[in-house]
């Protein structure tokens, strides 16, 4: 060691301590790992899965009164004659289809703006059997088999077609024009 170096003050300087603890990187890596595990778990088990109308009819017994999401296309738009106020609640009556299997639906509330014939919808609710909220109601072109789907939420599964001719094309193929299986 030379003379110059021997005169260096080797006492560690007092440095400002970082406000972040040393275990933070480990915590971030743990959070990343947990996020990945959570994502895999979500994709494998917990993500929603829509039951297509034909599948829901086939599994009606097993489903019982379990709440699920039903996918199908309305066979008509919701006209004023399909909306009834019973007691204090407003109900909309319509029929959806998937693969030529029809399901009658009674939904609470007003359908969303994009609700239309042939535009696929996802309904949240459960199977019901027996009398409808309006006992004498008959679903035009519907199943009318004593079973109906009691929905309290309507989501629209809009398709990816933005062409001007898509409605004409769909009509040429036959209605319902934009069923999810088309």
């Amino acid at each position: 060691m030379n003379e110059g170096e021997s005169s260096i003050d080797l006492t560690p300087r007092v440095t400002t301590k970082s406000s972040l603890p040393r275990w933070i990187p480990g915590l971030v890596l743990l959070a990343v790992a947990l996020t990945i595990i959570g994502l895999v778990w979500f994709l494998a088990t917990n993500s929603q899965s829509f039951l297509e109308a034909d599948q829901a009819v086939a599994e009606r017994e097993q489903l019982g009164d379990k709440r699920f999401q039903l996918l199908g296309s309305p066979i008509s738009s919701a006209g004023p004659e399909q909306t009834l106020i019973i007691g204090e609640a407003e109900y909309t009556f319509f029929t959806i289809t998937f693969d030529d299997v029809y399901v009658d639906v009674v939904s609470q509330g007003t359908p969303p703006d994009l609700f239309d014939q042939g535009v696929p919808v996802v309904l949240e609710g459960r199977w019901e059997s027996g009398p409808l909220p309006s006992k004498d109601y008959v679903f035009l072109g519907g199943a009318n088999d004593g079973w109906w789907f009691a929905a309290d939420r309507i989501l629209v599964k809009h398709d990816n077609d933005y062409r001007k001719d898509r409605i004409d094309d769909a009509e040429n193929r036959g209605q319902p024009d934009k069923s999810p299986d088309s």
Binding site: N2, G4, S18, L20, P25, T35, I36, N46, P112, K157
Partner: protein
């Protein structure tokens, strides 16, 4: 690395712009109003979605460039681990920041789209929405990790690992509408199915071009800020060592001469 930036009298850059970035910025400044004009005036409404269709011109491009940005982060991370080059680390960091902004915009515009179209702002069980949110959070985590004090190499190495791991989610997000078709309200790709046409297709293309320019412009500036910042850090370390030696009265040149002569180290 030296950039052709605006330099002040002391020779230090005082801006991150250069002739090429100013040209790029000008194109962007001119392009945005043109896009707004096409999006709101010239392109038609949709028969069923009405004006909501105009969100296509922002939502789809920002989603595409968030994938690209995170892809560049992954590439930068891989090359950093391989080459240990500060250039790649700075590239990965810059791209991740821009990717987070674009991904945030994707989530916000998607939610605004969802309310009139799907009848919901957000669905917690929806595969596309949740995987996109996870992607966003992963890269927020990446940026948070970079703020943890460490030596530049340790920080870059930790970030590179998270950057690579986070990118695994990109194909899941992108393909989720095909792989889990009945688990998402989100539509499949309109472009690959040929379901955009005329002015709708043109405006979408214009939007993609404008956001590509925005990505490149932001990327160059953010890279330069990052590079200058790391230069400053390196300068700081050097200056601190020199200061310490000066305090101790060491003549560095004499010491160097002594070591060359075989003296004690």
């Amino acid at each position: 690395m030296k950039f052709k930036t605006i330099e002040s009298r002391d020779g230090q850059p005082n801006a991150t712009s250069s002739r090429s970035t100013r040209f790029l910025g000008l194109c962007l400044a001119l392009g945005v109003p043109i896009l707004v004009l096409f999006a709101f005036v010239f392109s038609p409404k949709d028969d069923t979605m009405d004006d909501a269709v105009r969100l296509l011109y922002v939502h789809v491009p920002v989603a595409i460039f968030s994938y690209i940005a995170f892809g560049v982060t992954a590439m930068g991370s891989i090359f950093y681990l391989w080459k240990q080059s500060r250039w790649w680390d700075t590239t990965a960091h810059a791209s991740a920041e821009i990717g987070v902004i674009f991904c945030g915009l994707t989530l916000v515009t998607g939610s605004i789209w969802g309310r009139p179209t799907w009848n919901t702002w957000w669905e917690w069980g929806d595969v596309r929405l949740v995987t996109t949110l996870v992607m966003f959070l992963m890269f927020i985590g990446y940026l948070a990790l970079r703020q943890v004090p460490a030596t530049p190499h340790v920080r870059a190495k930790r970030a590179a690992i998270v950057g690579i791991v986070g990118t695994i989610n990109i194909p899941i997000v992108n393909r989720s509408v095909e792989w889990w078709e009945n688990s998402t309200l989100h539509q499949q790709s309109s472009l690959t199915d040929g379901n955009l046409e005329d002015l709708t297709l043109f405006t979408w293309f214009l939007g993609t071009l404008i956001f590509a320019l925005a990505y490149v412009w932001l990327m160059i500036h953010r890279f330069r800020v990052g590079w200058l910042s790391s230069e400053h850090d390196a300068l700081g370390y050097g200056a601190a060592i020199e200061e310490r030696k000066a305090e101790a009265g060491i003549d560095t040149e004499a010491q160097a001469q002594a070591s060359e002569d075989g003296g004690p180290q």
